[in-house]
Symmetry: C3
Subunit: 157 residues, 3 copies
């Protein structure tokens, strides 16, 4: 976070006041409970965290290292979402599914992906390495490595 | 919720951990207080619920049976909104009004309507039976029964 | 708020139940702490307020008189944002920066600007006097006085 958020002043302050960091830490605990078979407890834990951070991450979602969720309010990350390392997600982002789908129905983000504020990435699609999604963009198809998608409906630049 | 959310595992867990369900229940109480003439108390009740669920429903809004609000954070439902039965609303949805309007200024959703994450439905318009609004879509005109609107500005598919 | 929100019934009720009003008041305290050099305390204060109101305003942001934030959940106002007098901002609005920018990197809103629900205004740009941004619009360029921008990507009407 110190590297990626220009408003972050020092580690002590970030630890105390960054909701996205709290959300990711909270998810680590919830995910451990989920994989330990304590599923209902893990969802209660996740729900309690959501009330503080405004970030809703299903306990089963798989999240890589050094994910930064900036601001965080309104982020929803679904049950079968997979997030690689060094991704950056802004507030209001949805990693969601289409109504009525089952099984692996949420996106996979590879490493170094950036998803802008309020964007919705929907369905069992892959956002490849280093791709970027603009603020408010709605993405329902795979996005190639390094590509940028903007707009609603989204277009690749 | 058990029928419509593939991540819902059992009734006990849904009752404990579904913010949208808590929001709807909270609204039933707020709406009862409002229609009983305890208007300021009803708004305080609604505000308290909003801090937990992230869902803001004006106590006067009329909501039908079996509404599912999935995830819920950021949902805003205005004073003169009317929602039919069996509707499904995702997080971040606005049922709003245009700045400066008065009277019936929020939308009416008929039965079986689905509104995607982050969509804004604005003005005294009607979303007819079974219509769907895509994620992030901004809808300011009536939508015909069974139709689907996507994009910002929205187009009917 | 009494003038601008048709659902506002009286001052007592607004004071008790308007999250946007609480958020602005909270920011006045946080901003005072920030400018007094108590920066970490100011961020902790802002974070506590955010958990109640759902509105995240960086303590350093400069906000003019009579700002109305309606509903408020999900609003994010960045460190170098400047807001004039008599502006109206709906829930879900982002006054944000582009990833990797430094210095003055958030927008300036002149007086009497209206930003619709879920809109994102991004970068060190100016939204001139009386301009309006529609719901869900993504604006990354200056907007002339009195102009209206809608859509994602946004177009000036």
């Amino acid at each position: 976070m110190l590297e990626r958020d220009p408003a972050a002043r020092n580690a002590f302050e970030v630890i105390l006041t960054a909701p996205g960091l709290h959300a990711v830490w909270n998810h680590r605990v919830a995910h451990f409970l989920w994989t330990s078979g304590l599923k209902t407890l893990s969802r209660m834990w996740a729900y309690a965290g959501r009330s503080v951070t405004g970030v809703e991450i299903h306990p089963a979602a798989k999240i890589g290292r050094r994910l930064v969720i900036d601001h965080g309010m309104g982020v929803v990350i679904g049950e079968t979402a997979i997030i690689g390392d060094d991704c950056l997600i802004y507030h209001g982002v949805t990693l969601g599914s289409k109504t009525g789908e089952h099984g692996k129905r949420h996106p996979t983000l590879e490493n170094n992906v950036v998803i802008g504020a309020g964007a919705a990435v929907i369905g069992n699609i892959t956002i490849h390495k280093g791709a970027r999604v603009g603020a408010g963009a709605v993405v329902t198809h795979d996005l190639a490595a390094g590509a940028t998608a903007v707009g609603n409906p989204s277009k690749v630049l």
